[in-house]
């Protein structure tokens, strides 16, 4: 479905000199810096797959998506979506893809949302009956009815994101590109959006590429992930493996209400682990435990904790993508 080979994109950045004198100098000579946003990226994605495309800030995720959607023309390399080269045949490509950029809406700012859908119906040439069933389906999964009459500019971030997702799906696209579709959303809306994405993927066999900084999204949605770092692909494969291999540090944060002073010394977990694999920290009445979940299970830690203190509040954090990449470097898998 999606076929990417040796894709590279370079940006030219013109540097400005500071001050008035510098800007005068800039008329005659400009410093150009070439910035390689992505370098030799290759992958294949099959029909119906849902792939997480992840990497740190500035890794080149959005750049890749922009090439696949036809916004950017690559410096070199090939890219085909459903047999079409997006940047050469933009409108043909646009007809069968759906795109959401979480950072920026693609809707008409001043028009009511309902009107937006009427316009999209015309743009994509959607037959009346298909449009109606589709609309019904989308307003149900994404709960659009409560704000469909309002102009887009008045929508909250969560409402706008749902509207954007609906607008990307109205024409039943074969491929869906989602660039940070859950950015800045609360748990409830995030959950709603994830459910919708999953449903679309299963029901219509829509191929989906998703970038995000929220590992939870990836875990709930994708079997396969592609990791890029500084513009280069560093991993492509199953998500479970990578978590097992590199994402083994779990953090537990617990707030307790014991009156007596708790100190590290009288907390003995009885695990024989060195500080690399188990690390305790106490701040006021909060205890932070970092541990290697390959060596000891979460449940064991919590069991011990309950014995020692009275817990008011408890959070469990998985490792973030940035740390996983760091661990990969540490393990020498990647050449830094």
């Amino acid at each position: 479905m999606i076929y990417v080979e040796n894709l590279s994109k370079e940006f030219c950045i013109y540097k400005r000199q500071p001050g008035i004198l510098g800007s005068l100098k800039g008329i005659f000579k400009r410093d150009i810096e070439i910035k390689k946003a992505i370098e030799n990226i290759s992958f294949n994605i099959n029909k119906g797959e849902m792939v997480g495309y992840i990497g740190a800030n500035g890794a080149g995720k959005s750049t890749t998506i922009k090439i696949m959607t036809g916004i950017l023309t690559p410096t070199s390399g090939k890219c085909q979506v459903n047999g079409i080269t997006p940047y050469e045949n933009r409108t043909a490509n646009a007809q069968h893809i759906g795109v959401v950029f979480g950072q920026r809406t693609q809707l008409w700012w001043d028009l009511p949302l309902s009107e937006t859908f009427t316009i999209l119906k015309k743009i994509y040439n959607i037959p009346e009956d298909q449009y109606n069933t589709r609309m019904e389906f989308l307003s149900e999964v994404l709960d659009l009815d409560s704000f469909i009459k309002y102009p887009v500019r008045t929508l909250s971030l969560g409402q706008r994101m749902r509207a954007d997702l609906a607008s990307a799906l109205i024409h039943n696209p074969k491929v869906l590109f989602l660039d940070e579709p859950t950015i800045g959303l609360d748990i409830v809306v995030k959950e709603k959006i994830r459910k919708a994405i999953k449903f679309i993927n299963q029901e219509y066999e829509t191929t989906i590429i998703l970038t995000t900084h929220d590992l939870q999204d990836i875990e709930e949605l994708c079997d396969r992930i592609i990791i890029i770092d500084s513009g280069k692909k560093v991993y492509d494969g199953n998500i479970k493996n990578i978590k097992k291999d590199y994402g083994y540090i779990t953090t537990i944060e617990a707030t307790f209400s014991n009156k007596n002073d708790l100190s590290l010394s009288n907390l003995s977990f009885g695990f024989k682990l060195d500080s690399q694999d188990l690390n305790l920290n106490i701040e006021d009445n909060k205890i932070i435990i970092r541990f290697n979940n390959k060596k000891v299970a979460v449940s064991q830690i919590i069991a011990c904790l309950i014995n020692e203190v009275q817990i008011k509040d408890l959070h469990i954090y998985e490792m973030g993508i940035e740390d996983i990449i760091k661990n990969m470097y540490k393990a020498g898998e990647l050449n830094a």
Binding site: R16, G19, I20, S23, I27
Partner: protein
């Protein structure tokens, strides 16, 4: 009351930052001058054709040479005095950031004034002074019958500065209308059209019918452009020049009080509406 020097120390950075940010986009500055020059060129050719079509060498006391000088100085003056403070205020009102300016321990009017001053200084250094110097050179080498005396030039700059203050105060009052309508664009366009015509930027006021000239005596428009330009060209004697300058100062006092009054009303509205 802070001393003037201290005030300048506080507010001058606003001027400086305006100059700096404008100069980062120096191409824009150059282009906008070129655009203005083109419009001036159209006027030049038009006047040339007008004088060619006329049997007289002077119309209302202006020869073609006088008229060419008139439109050039007029163009320089309008560049010197224009500022977009009205848009700036309107933009801040629209985005609600105007309230932020009221919290800060600086006077909003003064800050805006110094920002406009920054643009004035930039226009002076990079456009007006070089252009006028060039003009003087040309006039002297071609040895036409008309001379631009240095004392006139000096009085011109004084008068242009007063014009700048007048337009600044008008613009402040206009910008505050943004509290009442969203199409400030249309309004400023009306203001632009009216001031351009009635200030004598397009055509010397003396070409107007007498009754219009009489009405204009009671309005600030001629103080914006006609006065400084006539002073510069030496079309009026020293005594008249001084009285024009005094008239300009009178308008400044009046408009200052008016703008403060509008400002106070607008602020009340702001605090009631809650930004």
């Amino acid at each position: 009351m802070l001393s003037l020097k201290r005030q300048c120390e506080i507010y001058f950075p606003f001027s400086k930052s305006v100059i700096q940010s404008n100069m980062t986009y120096k191409l824009n500055f150059v282009m906008s001058i070129c655009g203005g020059l083109l419009k001036t060129a159209v006027m030049y050719y038009l006047w040339r054709a007008i004088y060619n079509s006329s049997s007289q060498t002077a119309l209302n006391g202006f020869t073609l040479n006088d008229m060419v000088m008139y439109i050039i100085i007029s163009f320089i003056t309008s560049r010197l005095i224009t500022n977009s403070i009205d848009f700036q205020i309107a933009e801040e009102v629209k985005q609600g950031s105007i309230a932020m300016n009221l919290i800060k321990p600086i006077d909003y009017h003064t800050k805006l004034f110094f920002e406009a001053l920054g643009k004035l200084i930039q226009e002076l250094i990079f456009f007006a002074i070089p252009t006028i110097a060039f003009l003087i050179m040309i006039v002297h080498t071609t040895a036409g019958n008309q001379q631009i005396s240095l004392s006139n030039i000096f009085l011109y700059f004084v008068s242009a500065f007063l014009s700048f203050c007048i337009l600044f105060l008008i613009n402040i009052s206009f910008g505050l209308i943004a509290f009442y309508t969203i199409n400030i664009w249309g309004l400023t366009y009306i203001k632009f059209a009216i001031t351009r015509f009635l200030s004598g930027e397009l055509i010397p006021i003396i070409f107007f019918p007498l009754w219009v000239q009489t009405i204009l005596k009671f309005m600030p428009f001629t103080s914006l452009n006609y006065s400084p330009v006539m002073i510069c060209l030496g079309k009026i004697d020293l005594k008249q020049s001084i009285s024009l300058l005094l008239l300009q100062i009178g308008w400044i006092v009046f408009l200052f009080i008016l703008s403060r009054w509008i400002w106070n009303k607008a602020i009340k509205r702001l605090t009631i509406l809650g930004g």
